[in-house]
Symmetry: C2
């Protein structure tokens, strides 16, 4: 199992919409997460002192090829519909890696 | 089980020291984490586009009173020695809640 954590900006005028969407995630999205070998998926929110809001995701991946599973997730039409609602709420970090939407964080410690 | 996530700043001149410390956490600290009913404890690091570095912690709490367990952790002399090394590396967020060192994040989504 491998842990992935990432972050992204959340537009200030979209905070309530994003929270509302995630209080009732579609069943197809939840089952797709499992099918793509991801679990313990959580998203947290925080406002930094300078005023910007950020989202922080955490997930545990139990498959063998996260690139293939991520591509399978991205190809799912229902996921595409879901992302069409979520992405306008988000503001990717300008220093993210090429091709990324969320920015991956570096793990410096883990204890089971 | 309840999930806790928090964040704090990391001083730019202390990044390597913090990573070095956390690449070899003392056994007494690891066993104390378990004794205080905390597991899946991880810390991630990321630099925001404006240049500041931040640490993000994630843990799962399986006890019944996290305030009591946190107080027990803080009273452990070995933990106090460990924190005396870690705290000078960290820079708490100015908008943290009173009495906090790390800032707690708000959970907006979770799927098992």
């Amino acid at each position: 199992m491998k842990r992935y954590r990432s972050m992204i900006g959340l537009r200030p005028n979209k905070i309530e919409e994003y929270k509302r969407l995630h209080a009732a995630v579609w069943p197809e999205i939840l089952s797709n997460i499992k099918e793509c070998h991801m679990s313990s998926y959580s998203i947290f929110l925080h406002q930094l002192p300078e005023g910007n809001h950020y989202l922080f995701s955490y997930l545990e991946y139990t498959g063998v090829d996260i690139k293939a599973d991520s591509a399978r997730m991205a190809a799912n039409p229902k996921v595409q519909d879901w992302w069409a609602l979520c992405k306008p709420c988000q503001e990717p970090l300008s220093n993210r890696a090429e091709g990324d939407w969320w920015s991956n964080l570096e793990e410096v410690f883990h204890a089971n």
